[in-house]
Structure formats: structure tokens, C-alpha cells
Symmetry: D2
Subunit: 401 residues, 4 copies
């Protein structure tokens, strides 16, 4: 038997053609690896397709729980949003897929792994950097980037090789999805002045079609992890999937973003992330109740750092581990409940409560029972403002206004 390559296989045209191309170009036996991360594909038919197009073996793995626990949850604890907007849904699945590719390569004795990315996106970087960070000795191949066929040439190649072309509805967009969100790019989206068309959205209703009655839910967190909906304990995957449905019905989680890609260009992306956006928002509010002021000031920098690192494909790096240690430690008291109203495209946090809430009604109240020492303010202001006062005095001339 020849040398083997493990291919991340989706069942689509590109990766189907890749199976044959890897055989012909590199002489590799191809093992197709299909991962279910919540995009709603029938994994059994993906397996069959892989074998039909020439894979020597097809391995299907349900990786939703691993995705949720090991990748999405740490990102949630860090409220990770790239450029303040994008919850990194595709970016977070890449290191998982890379890990599975490496694991299967080791297990099957393969010498190479392959992915179906083009030369223009972020995902090629994420896959390859992750794979090298896990096993620097594995060869990594990117057939689509390498072969430079147009779509027509690709189809001709498929026909010539007897590859059964997957029948897909001609989606004008390029799509990627998992339980943390759905990404849509290309097509008419390429003009940032044009409104994204309804056809770009699949998971979320347009506001005029959402229910006219709000729905209020309670999300429970334990040390930063969502553990229950409306008081009912559920797995993280189940909570995410429930919220995707509920949020989608209410039109929650649409994101339209002109973002800076790692490869140096700006790109317009449309995302639908109902669960991700609701959970991040609820989690942030619980943090507002449970974090001290100094944590509230510094954590955003560590959050941005983690978000950029994930976006830029550096999951398997010592900085990621150090940042996760920081974020994990901040979650020790993020235990409590968040009441969220879903209505007309918005998730509104109505109230929060926590086991160790740092909101102290006796200190905060303006009514009787106020425990705050009002006189202390006089001394505080004196020293807090002292640098400003000295500055003004020393400048003699007043600070310009």
C-alpha cells in the first residue's frame, strides 16, 4: 500500500475533486475525514460520497461536543469578538479540524494532510499554522490553492475522471457553518454600499417576519459556562442549538462586517450567530455584576488579544494557553442567572443576579439605609485630583480647553 494523505472532506465539489487529484498528482491514497460540527449535513451520505469519489477510507466524526467544550466555551469566557463584532465561528472550528486531521493522520499512519481552502482566505492560514503547531513533520497540501482550475475546468476534470459531481442548489454565496454561527460571503455582498440581500441569511428571520410577542428566557451560568435554560440543566451543545433556533425566530444575531483579513485585504462578510451573540451578551452582563473594577478594565485587552489570536490562526500557541489561564481565573465568580428578552431582532438583558454579586444595594441606594460614607468622597477627590491640580498650578497658565 502507498503513502496516505488525510483530507478534510466536506462532500462538496472541491474536496471531491481533491480526492482524485491527490492520487494523481501526489500518488497518495486518500482517507476522507468528515466532521460534523453542526452545519446540518447527513454524515452518512458524506461518507458514501467520499468512497464513491475514490477515497480508500472515510471517517466521520461528530465533533460538536468537543467544539463546544474545548473551543467555543473558552472563547465565550473571553467574550471573544474579532474587531468587536464577529464571534469567530469559522475561526474556532479550524483548530479543531486541524487537530482531528493530525489525530487521524497519526492513527492511520498518514504522512500528509490536505484541506480544501483557496489562497485568499484566512482558513488556509489557520489550518496550516495549526497543523504545524501540532505536528511540524506532517506535510500539508492545499489542492484547490495549488491546482488553479476555474470552476468550469474543475467540473470538466471531474467528468473526465468519472467523479460524480455533487448536486447542489447553485448558491451564489460561499458558506461555512457550525453551531457557533453561519458565515456567508462573495456574490453581491462584494459591494459594501449594497444592503445584504435576504438570500444571504438562512438561520434568522427578517424582523418583519418575527413574532409580535417577546419571549423571555433565563440563562444560568456556572463559572462562566452556560449550564441551564429556564432552570433546566442542559449540555452546552443543547443550549447553543436551542438558542440558535429561538434567536433565529426572533431575528437575533445578524452581523454585517467589512473585516480585515489576515492576508492583508478587507472583505465583507455576513454572519448569523444567534446563540453566540446571545450568550456573549448575557455572559458580559453577568460579568458586569461579578467582576471588580480592575478586572473590568483589563480583561477587554486580554479579550481582544485572544480574539485576534484566534482569528489569525494561532490557537496552538503558548500565548493562547496563557490567555486562557487568565480568562479561566476571572470566571471563578461568574455564576448566576441572566434574564433575556428576545424580540424583534434584539436580545435585551432585563436583569441579572449572581451568587457573589458585587452590586451592594446598601452602598448603592439613594434611600434610607445608605451605608456609603459620603464624607470619604472629600478626601478621595482631593487625592484623585491632586495630579491635575499640581499640573494646573505648575503650568501657571491654565490648561487649554
Amino acid at each position: 500500500m502507498g503513502k496516505t494523505c488525510v483530507l478534510a472532506y466536506s462532500g462538496g465539489l472541491d474536496t471531491s475533486v481533491s480526492v482524485k487529484w491527490l492520487q494523481e498528482k501526489y500518488g497518495y491514497d486518500v482517507i476522507a475525514l468528515g466532521l460534523s460540527v453542526g452545519e446540518g449535513k447527513d454524515m452518512e451520505s458524506v461518507r458514501q460520497k467520499a468512497l464513491d469519489v475514490g477515497a480508500v477510507k472515510a471517517i466521520m466524526i461528530d465533533a460538536k461536543e468537543e467544539l463546544a467544550e474545548d473551543f467555543l466555551l473558552p472563547a465565550l469566557k473571553a467574550n471573544a469578538l474579532y474587531e468587536g463584532k464577529y464571534p469567530l465561528s469559522s475561526a474556532l472550528s479550524r483548530p479543531l479540524i486541524a487537530k482531528k486531521l493530525v489525530e487521524v493522520a497519526h492513527q492511520e499512519g498518514a504522512v500528509a494532510v490536505a484541506h480544501g481552502c483557496t489562497g485568499k482566505g484566512n482558513d488556509q492560514v489557520r489550518f496550516e499554522v495549526a497543523i504545524q503547531g501540532l505536528d511540524p513533520d506532517l506535510e500539508v497540501i492545499a489542492p484547490v490553492r495549488e491546482w488553479k482550475m476555474t470552476r468550469d475546468e474543475e467540473i470538466a476534470y471531474a467528468k473526465e475522471k468519472g467523479i460524480n459531481i455533487p448536486i447542489t442548489d447553485e448558491n451564489p454565496f460561499s458558506i461555512d457553518a457550525n453551531i457557533w454561527g453561519r458565515a456567508c460571503e462573495a456574490g453581491v455582498l462584494e459591494d459594501p454600499w449594497q444592503e445584504a440581500p435576504e438570500a444571504a441569511y438562512e438561520w434568522t428571520a427578517p424582523i418583519h417576519l418575527t413574532p409580535d410577542e417577546p419571549e423571555t428566557i433565563v440563562i444560568s451560568f456556572e463559572k462562566g459556562k452556560p449550564v441551564a435554560l429556564n432552570g433546566k440543566s442542559m449540555s452546552l451543545v443543547d443550549i447553543i442549538e436551542k438558542l440558535n433556533v429561538l434567536g433565529g425566530e426572533h431575528g437575533i444575531g445578524r452581523i454585517d462586517h467589512v473585516e480585515n483579513r489576515l492576508v492583508g485585504i478587507k472583505s465583507r462578510e455576513v454572519y448569523e450567530c444567534p446563540a453566540a451573540m446571545m450568550l456573549i451578551q448575557a455572559h458580559k452582563e453577568l460579568e458586569h455584576l461579578t467582576h471588580t473594577r480592575d478586572v473590568a478594565k483589563f480583561k477587554p485587552q486580554a479579550e481582544q488579544q485572544l480574539a485576534e489570536l484566534i482569528y489569525e490562526g494561532l490557537w496552538y500557541s503558548p500565548l493562547r494557553e496563557a490567555l486562557l489561564a487568565f480568562h479561566e481565573e476571572t470566571q471563578v465568580n461568574v455564576t448566576g442567572e441572566v434574564k433575556v428578552k428576545c424580540f424583534k431582532g434584539q436580545a435585551t438583558v432585563l436583569g441579572t443576579r449572581a451568587d457573589v454579586s458585587l452590586y451592594d444595594e446598601e452602598l448603592a441606594t439613594y434611600s434610607k439605609g445608605d451605608a456609603f460614607d459620603h464624607d470619604a468622597a472629600v478626601g478621595f477627590i482631593k487625592l484623585w485630583g491632586l495630579p491635575s491640580k499640581v499640573y494646573a498650578k505648575k503650568q501657571k497658565t491654565k490648561v487649554k480647553v
Copy 2:
């Protein structure tokens, strides 16, 4: 004539009683200074009230334009949101009022200024630090913090001194407002698990009472400054006031925040800031189109720094001037148009265009005419991922996943 104190005068009970109290306790002649910053008061009646309660002089100033140009606009350029949520409406008016107090004190030869804050809030700090930063030799008095009367004692004092008590509808909340927003605290809001009642809101409609048709507008910016609505040139004050009305009708701009006060406690605040939130959002989107990646990465830190500094009363400080120089320089290309849909509590940016847009369709496109060099990615990935690869190789054991 005796020594004079300039009092920031609102026409309410506290500052009305302060006029007499400053005379009796300190022997000062009191000059009442009333500022119109968009809270919608009849300044003529405020002036009359001031004289009625014993002020030797009453000066009314319309400061909306100065507020907008010198304080709100720099904050907008920095997308300033305290703790990611609060556009600093009250916080931004404090340095303006302090400046006016100092200016009037100089002009009238006063030796002291006074404000009506209690000992528990942020505003006492902001006023006093700002005043010291402008003129460290002026005495600053905070009658309400000092006298420690209950409301009943205050009313009794007013009656005894023949002060005509301003008739107000008994608002259960403590309110502050200007064109950048309306703040509401106290009362039932003091339990963060309870939903804020509709009574806490005045500028914005609840979603079920908003129009069933969206309204789409175009906001034009020049170097980061809003200059036109729907193609019609308008002053910044006019744009803000228009957007407050429009946004308010559509229920946009409600913020419910458990925030960290400078004086060390958490406090729950409800804000309504339709114009501020719409302008910041639109401005951010135009920056996404016009800022390079490196600016997009660093500016958020300089933004957070400015927001904290404003919240913490340090407007008149060298750091503010340096941060403003930074933010101003980033605005050089933030010129263009933003299309915003107002609907059911949300302002959604539908599209952006700019004179110097850094979105390059030829580079971004997935269709023909793609000018991006796909081969360059191979070299890029090699060097980008080299530290990860070396790390993995050197560790021999693989990075833990």
C-alpha cells in the same frame, strides 16, 4: 459688596436651597449660572427662579453647540463607551459646566464656585477635579454633600427661609439629561434582577409602540464628524437632535447598565441615548471601511483609555490632550456615507462608502478580475506560522490541545 460664589443652578430644590445656604453658611453673594445643554428646560423661568430664591445675579448660557463641538465630537471620534456600553452623556457635560463656572467666576471676580452633587456619585469628582484642573486657586463648595439634610429637612429649611419650593412632579428617579443622552437611576432600579420599568424611559418608545415600517437614513461624515443627514448639511447639534427624535420613535438607544463608579461602588443606571448610539455605530462602520488593520487593532485601546478618563473626571489633563491628538489623526480619511435602517429598537447599518475606502473589490472578489496573488499566501503562511512550527519542533512533545 461681599465675596462671591458662582453656583451651577438647575432650578431644582437642591440648588435653590443652596443659594440661601451659601449665603448663610459662607456669607457669599451667589451668582446662579444656568446652562442649557439640551435637557429641554425653559431657561427664562430658571433665571427668574434663581433671582427669586436670592441669587444676586443669574446668568443663563446656551452651551449646546460648545458641548457638541468641543466635547461630544472628540468622544464620537473615539467611539467612547464606558465599559463598552455608556456613551458618557452626563460625564461629558461635566467638564463643560466646570469650564463655564470657572469662566464666569473669573469674569465676575468670584472666589468660589459651587455645585449641587451629593457625596456618592461620580459627578462631584468630575466637577471638582475639572475645576482644579482649570484654576487650582478657586474654592469649590458642595452644599448638598456638606449639609447632610434629609429631603424633609431640606423642605423645612426652604420654608423657613421663604424659598419658593419648585413644584416638580414627584419623579421617583434621579435624572440628568443633555443632547448626548438621558440618565436615570435610583428607585426600583436598585435591584438589578428587576426589569427596568417603562417609567424609567422618556425619550424612547417601547418596541411594541414603534412604527411598523422601518426608516432608512444616510449619515454623512467628514473626517469623523457628522455633517449631513440624507444629503442635507446640518450642524452637529441639529443632527444630534434630529436623531434623538427619530431614534426615540423607533425605540433605539436604551441602555441598562450595572456600572463601576469611580467612588468604588457598583450602580445600576438606565440611559437613553438614541443619537449617541446611532452616531457611534455608524462612525465605527465607516472606520471599518477606512482604517488599516493596524489602526483597527490599536485604536480600541486608545478609545477605552479615553472613555475611562472621561468617566473618571480627568478631561482637563495632558493625557486627554494626547489621546485626542491620536484620535484626531485617525480621522483623516473617515469621510463618507453610512446608510442606517431604524426599526424596532435597532439601528442597522446597511451599507457604507467612503472617499478613501480601503475595501478593494478587485482584491476581495471571488469572481473574475481577482487581483489577489494566491501564491503569495504560501510564503506568507510559512513565515507567519514559523514561530509555532519552531515551538512545536523544539518542544518535541506536541503542544497540549
Copy 3:
């Protein structure tokens, strides 16, 4: 028996007078707590002095090891230098002393603790905030700040009460010391244009009196912790004490700093920290060899944050715990050896080696055997510089130079 107060007792005039004063003013029985942290005092005579001046009990604790392991080591891992200069020697001992005060108070059933700080320094803040962070119900008393006696009045009070005044050489400076360094302030130092006199220094030789031969040592680290000198395993305390002597002889570790105090003023301080400065420098160099680029970029921010937090008395806070988790995680590969030459006031790192060094000679070499892919640079530069290129192209007019 009456209520009890535990006093941090140094044996000096202030705390000796405090024993009596706490009895008379507050009616407390006073337990004197003396801590040995390396300032070289005879603890037995401190104990006797405490009893002589009226303490009901005197407890002496050798806390050097706890100081080193629990406070200095985490600071070293973070290369903690306040304002880039001061290794926080006094600041790091304060939370330890606070902890011991609280522990002894609990163990002895005391209701109050007391310290000898004035109202002007950082240490009062550090003590009181730390004590409250450990047990918010303990009363904290600062006799010296409260009594407002001049030194002459204090001596008169001592005589009147029969307190045997400790005989000290009239040191014109105010001194604090522990194994991490010696701080000296006041006196002629108060003019920042004047050179600090030799009298301000005690641990370090002036350069003209240092040996004319260098001494080279090797410091070994394990996960960021110094574990051996010249190959000989030693405790952290021993390493620090050895380096203080060695470095002191060679004139290493003098710091002259005009620093920003937490209480709002600038103050000029002279520090001698031979061991601290040598260890931080050596540790940093080992990190240069073992940290990836992304860690090298972000860690300095987390270092500055920790240094400020320690300086500002917030050791017992959730942010400290989260930052320590971050720094601890970064130390996983900081294991190796650093060769340091001590000579004429300078510690010079001559060489570093590590178990998992990320310096790869095959990649770095300019001679044969170069494993670096020079062609990859072309693609890398293309994408790295793409934002600059697009910016230049889009601006049409060139960037101003």
C-alpha cells in the same frame, strides 16, 4: 481582659509610642507583631522592646521564605517593575505583613489591627486595602496618621509615659528594607536636581570602590524560578541573599526614581535592589530565548498591569489572581541557565541556554546549513505590506512623509 489590637511593630519610635497610645486612646490591649523580612534586625531585642513599652504579648515571625515564595517569585515571573524602574520591594512586603496581621488577629481573637504609616505614603493604602481585602470586618488604626504629633511632641509623649526611646543613629532618611531591596527617601533627596549622596546608600558600593576584576556567575531557572547559583541548588531566599551581597560589592542595583505615588504626588526615592535587578534581568533574557513572539508582545502589558496593581495596594484582588495565572502559564518553558558578569555597577548577561530554546541555529545561521526558506519572504512581504499598498493606492496622493 479587654479588647485586643495587633500592631505591626518595628521596634522604632513610632510603633513604640503607638503601643501606649493605642491603650490610652482606644483602651486596647496591644499585641506587638514583629516580622523578619530580611532587614537585618535582631528580632529578640525587638520582642523585648515591645514588652518593655507595654505590649501584652509580642510575637516574632520569620517571614522571609513566605515573602520570597509567595510574593517575590510571582513578581519576578512578571518582571514587575513599577514605571519600568522599581522592583516593588516595599510594596511586595505590605500584603504579606497585612496577611500576618490578620492571621494573628484571628488567632488571638483581636478586633483591630494597627500600622505605623503616616498619611502621605503608599504604604497606608497598601496595608488598609489589603487588610480589608482579607477581613473586611477588622478595624484598622493608623496611630501616627491620627495623632498628628511632631517628632518633638512624640518624644515628649514617650518620656511622659515612661517609654524607653529606642536609641537610633539619627538617620536623616526614611528607610524601609527587606530581601528584595532597600528604600530611602526624604532629607536632601527632596531636590531632584541634587545628586543622591553616598549616605543614602548602604547595601551597594560606589563604583570607584568596587573590585577591578569582574565576577561571572551562572543562575539556573526552573519554570521561571531561580533554583541554583553556579550549579549549586539553593533556596530562593539564599539565592536572593547571596546576590544582594555579591551585587552590592560590585555596585549593582542602585535606582534613583522620581515616582508617581498612589496618593497623587511625585516623590523621589532611592532604592538598592542588587538581587532583584539581577534576577529580573537574567529572567528576562531567558524569556527572550524561550518565549514566542506573540507572548513577547503581550506579556509586557500584563507585566505593567501587575506592577501597577502591586504598587497600588491591590494584591488581594481578583485581577491579581488572574494576572498570576497568566504569568504562571508563560513560565512553562522558562527553564535554563543565564551567565551573568558582575562588574563596575553592571550585571551583564553574557549568554543564555534553555531546555526548550526557540532560537534555532539552523534557521538563524548565515552560513551553510541554513534551513530558512528565502523564497517564502517574497510571499510574506506581499501580504504583510498589502494594507500599506492598498492604502497608498487608494489615497492616490502619496502618504505624507
Copy 4:
């Protein structure tokens, strides 16, 4: 006449061979551009050499003043040190050389520019990104990276083409120098455990050969710019050159650094930067005296950002302009004098004074005349420590120590 390429010409082997190679490979007429930036070359002989090896024109420019005023000075205001150690001497000259290449190309009607960098260093990135940021339409060629000749092949090529090989002492190191410093790499330095040999140093004396008497100087700054030495006004270039000589004699400014290159590898570099290190140190000390606490806290982040950006070749970018605006604004009061003692490898700041010093002796003093309000500390501590206290109280269980 054919198309023209402007080559950055040093007079060494690589660029001499490049002249012929650019003609033969690309058919370009080559204009040699020699820049004097303080490396001490005889520019007239460089010019002659260029013509001798076949350049159609040779342009020599003295760019020291432009380097100092437009590149070094902004970096000094930002105390720019890459990874806390390297004052960016080579990195700062690259954007200047790129600018000159572009200016000469425009002036001479050239369509291409060329530089002599290999494919492994940072400088290729800096040149090419800078050139693209100035004129994205110019072709950029890197002959040495492209031709892949070994040194022997290069010499053979030179002989074959009749190129007179420049006679150089066989320096085992790779050197780059300008007035901001001298960089040395390769050779025996490639083992980071080995001490750098004396042969690696040229500008600075080893400590045992430095004078046995210290020399104390006074450096005057105006708004952050060095303007005088010992009270004598001098140009920036003159100050730098004087300090290089003086500092070099006293052995000041040696830096031995294992640094993270932009191209993903670690490299060991030895730098000599007497003037740069003395000026940065003196400048920092003057900032300690004149900056408010909040500027002192934030500026280091903006400094690190600028240093990284310069190292990474992004001088011609909007972020650089915004950061410079920030740093410039912070210099408004950095006017004063710094007393520096040069002795045995160290520059020690003995004293500082400033026109607007924020050190206030009346506030700082421990003797009579103390203007500091000691009682204010009580209130300050109460509110400063309130979050810690609430946290401790709410946790009920004490914070773990």
C-alpha cells in the same frame, strides 16, 4: 535610453555585483544611490566605485540631518526600544532610504528600485513595504535574494564580468551602522550561550579600558528634543555624534539581544548605541519629572506599539502618524535639563530639572512646610479600597492568599 532602476548602493560586494546583474537580468540602466547616514564611509569613493562597476549615474546624498530630525527624534520622543532593548537604529534608517529611493526614482524617471537585502532579514520587508507605501506602482527588485549565488559564485561572477571587487578586511560579522547605532550579527554570535567577542564591538570600549574618572554632562531638552550639551546649543546630529564618541569611550551602549525577527525566527544581534541609549534614558527621566501619572501609565503602551511598528516596517502607515501625534502632544512640557554621569559602561542620571516640573517639594517633603493634606488619605483609602472590601464581604469566605 532604456528603462532605469535606482539601486541603494553601499559600495560593497553585493550591491556592486547587483549593478551588473540588474543590467543583464532585467536590462535596466542602473542609477546608484549612496546615502551617508553616519556609518563613516567616504562617499566620494563610493560614487567612483559605483561608476566603475557600471552604474549610469551615481547620486550621493548626506541624509544624516533628515534621519535625525524626521526619524530618530520621533522615536526618541516615544523612547522606542524594540522588546525593551533595541533602539531600532537600522530599522529607522530603512524608511528614510526607501523614501530617497522613491524620490530619486521619480526625479530620474525610473520604473524600478532595488536593494541589497537577502531573503532572511527584516530589512527586505522594511524596504519593500515602505516603497509600496510611498509609491505602489514602482517595481521593487531584491537581486541578492533572487540570484541565490553563494559568496564564491558571486566573486566568480564579479571576476567574469570584470567587476573590481571591493577590498574589505574580511569581517566575520554582518554589519550595519548609522548615527543611531551599529548592528552586528552572524559569525560566532550564532550560539547564544557564547559571550560576544570583543571583535564584535567597534564603537565602544570594554569596561576595563574605560577612563577611571567619570565625566558628567548636562543634556538640555526642549519639548522632548535634545538641544544642548553642557549648556551649549547644538544640532541634533552634533549632539548624537558627540554622545557616540563620549559614550563609546566610557563603554556605554552595548546591547546583546536574542530578538524575534518579523520573518518568524529568533536571531542574536549585538548593537552599540551610545548616544541612543543615553538620550532615551535621559529623556525618560525628564518625563518622570514632567508627566502626570495617567500619561506615565498609558504612554508605554503607545511606545511599545510604535517600536513594533517601526521594527515591522510599517513606518509609512496611518497608525504611525496617529501614534506620532500622540507622542508629540505628550512632549509639550518635556523641557528641562538632565545631569548624566558617564562611568564604567553606565550612564547614570544624577538629577533632573524642568520648566514645568510636576515634582512639588511642598507636597513631597517630610519636613516642615508640608502642604499635603494627611487627613484626605483616610477618605481616599476608603473609596480606593471599597471594591476590595465589597469583594471580600460578598465572598464571605476570604480571598485565598
